[in-house]
């Protein structure tokens, strides 16, 4: 009888079975879900978009590798999280950063370094960072190279376009010159919606195509890697506030209540990319579902506040970063309730049994 000897039995703690899901599978799947957005970016902005993104990914992964190598930590570059940070940073940058005159190639590299090493690793690595690494990387570049970071190429959809003309993003037209001008630029309102939806407009590499982002988002929702809580509360709040406060009289420029165009706000700028892929970063958002709704509302409200009243035409990045600060305290405030706990001062009606002093 092939009965094994005692010392060959393996003894570990329960549970003895595990789900197949792994952290790296989640990370790589999120990377995959950004593929449509990346592809649309490449289509509209040409090879420069691919180069900028690739540069970010490579420098993010290498930053992580050398940091961990230098500090003799476990090398974790295969888990997909550094790759994801690089990818998210890359598609949040203008394609015009791939430029040798003026020389700007170092800009994405520095952004990746700030994202991976300063924002993530110095705070303790994956799971311990307070802020979304890609967004800190981008914020750092925005402040350090404001001109380069707001020089947008025209979406030419010509594959070998290396020298695209520069132009303004829809949000900055909206901010500087108003809705009338924006509609004028795009011909008519329906065309404006259409172009914004497909992604034929100036902006960061991966943020322009609402269609591509929604495909990726649907995939993540289907896989349950992202739940509805943050995207819905984020987008819902932004749409509501944009509708209430976003309207302006075309002639006098005075604010008109309940006259804003929420659709333009939702599908322009980094709104969809932020709501589905950045604000939902597990590490930097609350992990309690109720808290996530508060987090999403905060993100949406701050985004619209910055867009309408702030100095920048776009507010998604700063809104998410600001809300990242609150994530731990939101989690504490919305601590889950233990099974069977009674609401204070109220009898537990559901079971018809009075609380008994123990």
């Amino acid at each position: 009888m092939a009965v094994k000897k005692e010392h060959e039995l393996i003894v570990t703690v329960s549970p003895h079975i595990r789900d197949e899901e792994t952290t790296s599978r989640i990370m790589w799947t999120v990377n995959l879900s950004l593929l449509p957005a990346m592809a649309m970016g490449a289509y509209f902005f040409g090879p420069r978009a691919v180069f900028v993104t690739a540069l970010c990914i490579i420098s993010a992964v290498l930053s992580e590798y050398f940091y961990q190598k230098t500090l003799k930590k476990k090398i974790t570059i295969t888990d997909g999280s550094a790759f994801l940070t690089g990818l998210l940073l890359g598609i949040n940058l203008p394609s015009s950063l791939w430029s040798f005159n003026p020389f700007l190639i170092h800009v994405p590299i520095i952004g990746s370094f700030v994202a991976v090493v300063i924002t993530k690793q110095l705070f303790g690595g994956l799971g311990y960072n307070i802020f979304n690494p890609a967004l800190i990387g981008r914020a750092f570049l925005m402040i350090s190279w404001p001109k380069a970071m707001s020089t947008w190429s025209e979406p030419t959809a010509a594959f070998l376009a290396f020298d695209a003309k520069t132009t303004a993003t829809p949000l900055s037209i909206l901010k500087e010159e108003g809705l009338g001008k924006l509609i004028e630029v795009f011909g008519d309102k329906m065309n404006l919606y259409k172009e914004l939806f497909v992604g034929h407009r100036a902006g960061s590499i991966g943020e322009t195509s609402a269609l591509a982002l929604l495909i990726g988002a649907a995939f993540l929702l289907y896989k349950r890697y992202v739940t509805w809580h943050i995207p819905v509360s984020f987008l819902g709040t932004a749409a509501l506030l944009a509708w209430v406060f976003g309207g302006k009289d075309l002639h006098t420029g005075k604010m008109l209540f309940f006259a804003g165009d929420p659709i333009i706000h939702l599908i322009s700028g980094g709104m969809l990319l932020g709501a589905f892929f950045m604000a939902t970063d597990y590490v930097t958002c609350p992990s309690v579902r109720k808290g996530q709704i508060i987090f999403g509302i905060g993100c949406g409200a701050l985004t619209v506040l910055i867009r309408l009243k702030g100095a920048y035409p776009e507010g998604v990045m700063f809104a998410i970063l600001l809300m990242n600060c609150f994530a731990p305290i939101i989690d504490r405030g919305f601590k889950t309730k233990v099974f069977g706990a009674l609401n204070p001062g109220r009898k537990n009606i559901s079971n018809g049994v009075k609380e008994t002093k123990r």
């Binding site: 009888m1 549970p15 079975i17 899901e21 597990y282 233990v338 069977g340 706990a341």
Partner: protein
């Protein structure tokens, strides 16, 4: 109507097909049995026998050492050859009585009671007590203690736990399919003892045959309701089962009697019936021997004190190279350090996991706060925070996250994508701090 259930929970692969269709069969009666004097929650028994003494099957060999304790009986007839410290399934040394089987299978005198329902509650309780019945679901809590609630805790219903939500295990399922009438009789005895008119049997929806048989058996009993429960782990956990069947929620750190119910496992109900009807003490139980690592998965009626190695041999031995042998189910069972340990009253299954399927827990990653464990925790806790705080040695702070409400069902560790040993972190915190 949607099946009755609770909030949270997980869906591990149930793997019950391995042993589900194998009828309960008598295991080979061992040459010698090792009967630990402590098989239950509570005080160990005091030995009543001496070396070389002849004992009969069913004879009392250990008397209870306190109120929360339970007597132990000889499971074979023969001669006591040793009394001493032997390892139990947890690897602890416990005082045990070793009996050499004389092969005669001679019963001690048992008292038959055809009219058992005419006995008073106290008489019935005495029979359950002297038969050494404990909870057979795994916890092995003395049954009579549960049947003696304090006066200020009125009881209005008895729930029979037939959920068997642990993957792989099929012992309770087989009992419900093969002995439904006896289980219902057991439930009626329990209801009589507690003076209640309402009885529930909770069975997970993936056991249609058991539901059918139990409904058939309970047809004539107006007070007994057989409930189909949603298939979800841990549906058979006491608090979850009570919520699913009656809608009542046991308060935190409370007991079922706080919501006026008593819960007993199906195996226990059967043992209660046999003790009351035939005077039969608890000397055997159904054990599911199963898993991908065993040749012939089976449900065996096993004498208490049989060695695990004998059961494995009887089921055709190991295949695919043994990795882990688990007492109980894969979610809450514990890995055996040795096969030469006895089956006790609480052993519901022996699960063999081949070496290639063993998950090594040493390689875990940091918590990425994905919130999966929070979503599925049946107790509404935040396992992620508990594990992070415990990992950092901040044990006192874990109490702010209701550490002691965790009953270690393992759902959080099951879903964790970073493969964190969350249950172990929680146990560590529990041992480092006081409620």
């Amino acid at each position: 109507m949607s099946a009755m259930t609770f909030k949270g929970g997980i869906h591990p692969p149930d793997k019950k097909e391995l042993a589900k269709d194998s009828p309960i069969k008598e295991a080979r009666i061992p040459q010698r049995v090792v009967i630990p004097l402590s098989q239950h929650v509570g005080a160990p028994c005091k030995s009543l026998v001496s070396i070389n003494q002849e004992v009969k099957k069913g004879e009392l060999i250990g008397e209870p050492g306190g109120f929360v304790s339970s007597p132990v009986h000889a499971s074979v007839s023969g001669k006591v050859v040793a009394i001493g410290e032997f390892p139990n399934a947890m690897g602890r040394m416990v005082t045990s009585v070793v009996i050499e089987n004389d092969g005669k299978e001679e019963w001690t005198s048992l008292k038959d009671n055809p009219d058992y329902l005419k006995l008073s509650a106290d008489e019935l309780k005495e029979k359950i007590k002297t038969a050494g019945i404990v909870g057979l679901g795994g916890a092995a809590f003395p049954t009579v203690v549960k049947l003696t609630p304090p006066k200020e805790k009125p009881i209005d219903a008895v729930i029979i736990n037939g959920a068997e939500c642990e993957p792989y295990l099929t012992a309770d399922y087989r009992l419900m399919v093969e002995k439904p009438a006896e289980i219902i009789e057991g439930l009626k005895i329990l209801m009589k003892i507690l003076g209640v008119s309402k009885g529930f049997v909770g069975i997970e929806d993936n056991k249609p045959e058991a539901i059918k048989q139990m409904k058939e058996a309970a047809k004539a009993e107006s007070g007994i309701e057989v409930c189909a429960l949603e298939v979800k782990y841990p549906q058979g956990a006491e608090k979850m089962l009570i919520k699913a069947t009656t809608g009542r929620k046991v308060p935190p750190r409370g007991l079922p009697m706080d919501v006026r119910v008593v819960v007993q496992n199906v195996g226990t109900a059967l043992a209660v019936y046999e003790a009351v009807r035939f005077g039969k003490p608890l000397i055997e139980r159904v054990v599911t021997v199963t898993g991908e690592g065993i040749n012939n998965p089976s449900n065996l009626m096993v004498r208490i004190g049989s060695l695990v190695s004998e059961l494995i041999e009887e089921c055709g031995g190991f295949k695919n190279g043994v990795g882990k042998v688990i007492s109980g189910g894969p979610m809450m069972g514990f890995a055996l350090p040795s096969l030469d340990v006895p089956v006790t009253k609480g052993t519901s299954g022996i699960l063999v996991i081949p070496e290639e399927d063993v998950i090594h827990a040493e390689d875990f990653e940091p918590c990425i706060r994905c919130g999966r464990c929070i979503d599925i925790c049946p107790m509404g806790l935040m396992p992620s925070m508990l594990s992070i705080l415990s990992e950092k040695g901040r044990y006192e702070e874990t109490k702010e996250y209701d550490l002691f409400d965790c009953f270690e069902c393992g759902s959080c560790a099951f879903v964790c994508p970073s493969k964190r040993p969350i249950v172990q972190f929680i146990r560590l915190a529990k041992s480092m701090t006081k409620p």
